[in-house]
Symmetry: C2
Subunit: 347 residues, 2 copies
């Protein structure tokens, strides 16, 4: 049994994960906003305090981080800058192994271990949400790269001269296809959320952070299908009037601008995936995150662009599928860092 922890900007989650991947006794707490480092640490201690009977600790945490030490500086947890999370957990659980990796890596690992990547040796696991992240498995092993940062598919360049990206560059996949970028693009084209989205807005209420946590605890959690790591629960809420959820819903209702926005994301994803499979000769790509629920509206344009560019035999064989695992993927992947033997952890 492994204690799995998933640390995101909106919430922290923990559970016990069995060797077969079964997740038990999941607990969640809202991540204190604007809290200092020790307050955040105490919240995490309170979250994991009830657990016992585990042999190791696996953690997925928002990046960036120093890997493999697990000194974390999550972009969306300002109170932790260079916080020695790995060291603290090792001191808290002496004698037990502690393994920490990027949350997007954990999602990919989970999908490889127990999802649609199972049995496929060469996989890119992606998540498209507030950000666009991923993890790369080649030769049946997680690729870390020189500093644990391999898998940053969100920063493959799909539009040279394109929009500025949070990374400091421009034209990255993430700059084009992240939820907030799509919302902004649609709004520029004249889209406003249809009245049918009203119910959603009422449900969120005046404080989306808290309302989000409430929904998570109630377990409905449809908004966070890809796990917590990339703040899926908070995804698309940078502009609280118009969200990626609404955009996707309006696309399903037939709104032409909303559909064009999803097609724009699909096109950008298709370009990045074509480049990735040419470089890595992949078997399968899985896509999780809220946008991956959009079905043909996203995957149709994605496939068209991919097939237009990936013409060599070895690239044509690639399949691109929605991720199988739901909201517990982050916990499953964190546990797999230990339960997967050395497939997902090599330092």
């Amino acid at each position: 049994m492994i204690l799995a922890i998933d640390v995101g900007g909106t919430k922290m989650a923990a559970a016990l994960v069995a060797p077969d991947g079964a997740v038990r006794l999941t607990r969640r707490l809202a991540t204190p906003q604007d809290a200092d480092a020790e307050t955040l640490w105490k919240t995490l201690l309170a979250l994991i305090e009830p657990y016992d009977g585990f042999s190791g600790v696996g953690v997925g945490c928002g990046g960036p981080m120093a890997w493999p030490s697990g000194e974390v500086s999550p972009l969306n947890i300002p109170g932790w800058r260079g916080f020695p999370l790995g060291e603290r957990l090792a001191a808290r659980f002496p004698g037990k192994p502690v393994r920490i990796h990027n949350d997007a890596i954990c999602l990919a690992v989970a999908e490889h271990w127990k999802g649609h990547g199972r049995g496929r040796a060469n996989m890119l696991g992606m998540v498209v949400s507030t950000g666009v992240g991923g993890g790369l498995i080649l030769g049946d092993r997680l690729v870390n790269g020189g500093t644990g940062n391999a898998g940053h598919i969100g920063h493959v360049i799909v539009e040279p001269g394109g929009p500025p990206c949070g990374c400091g560059g421009h034209g990255c996949l993430e700059a084009v296809a992240r939820g907030p970028a799509l919302v902004a693009w649609a709004q520029d084209q004249g889209w406003t959320p249809s009245p049918a989205n009203g119910a959603y807005r009422d449900a969120v209420g005046s404080d989306p952070e808290k309302a989000g946590s409430g929904r998570e605890k109630a377990g409905s959690g449809q908004e966070e299908a890809a796990g917590s790591g990339l703040d899926v629960a908070g995804a698309y809420r940078e502009d609280r009037e118009a969200t990626g959820q609404m955009l996707a819903a309006d696309a399903r209702r037939g709104d032409p601008i909303a559909r064009a926005a999803l097609a724009r994301a699909g096109h950008a994803l298709g370009l990045a995936i074509a480049s990735a499979t040419h470089l890595c000769d992949l078997d399968v790509v899985t896509i999780g995150g809220g946008l991956s629920q959009s079905g043909e509206l996203l995957f149709g344009p994605l496939e068209r662009t991919l097939r237009e560019h990936a013409r060599m035999d070895f690239a044509r064989r690639l399949s691109v599928v929605p991720a199988l695992l739901g909201q517990e993927a982050g916990l499953v992947g964190a546990a797999a860092l230990l339960l997967g033997g050395d497939r997902y952890w090599a330092v």
Copy 2:
């Protein structure tokens, strides 16, 4: 001692390679043009006939091929389509291991084993010539991908909507940066080779294939610094009036269009390398092939584009350098398939 063989569309080369990488008794023959499969095979047998005292056979051959079986269909050797080169060599040398890989892979492996990638665990070895190819080493091991085709950096997309590529797609790095594409682009801009290139044309004479082989035997071979695999000896000669050699020479002489052509290549390379390091978290990229001899005229624009796009810490640490090894790189890499232990061969 390993018998190393390098099969290209212009010539075939063989040598004995010692465990320390030393190359001995190199022999070369012109690849018979428009020959049938058995004529080509007999040429190869004649090439390797004198060798003995080796324990295994390593081969680099133009792609595509079925890997790891070594059933080859080199694009520039029309007489071999689905030719069972691996099987034939195994039958010729019973009891000895035979390992065949793509020529671009062998160049990358050579550079990792004995060149500028030595001691770096995460490397992309590139060659920019008539084509743009590469090989990927991650975690100190060659990445094969699902079908042995990982490393196709030439088909990372750098210009969506850009020029058609030989692969059937468009906007690929190779479509923009391969020697013949640069020459065609420069000619479209009004460039013609300066009279100073006359001496080169005289040296090539009326039959560039033969003249090329002659120069190789004489060992001057500056044109083929990256090895034979990608037909570097024949590189830039599709149009025998204007070649990439001349373009590079005119750029060194200050011709503004020729310089712009090299800058165009550097820009495209910078984009593809930025995408590659974001995906794979690389330590070093080596670039071989004729164009890599252009120094700052190529590497300056490459670096500017790379640094503009690769802004995250893990990407900023990447270094991009010209390949160290010269014309024997293909033979060194072919031998390394066996001499590198399991680092470069895992099936």
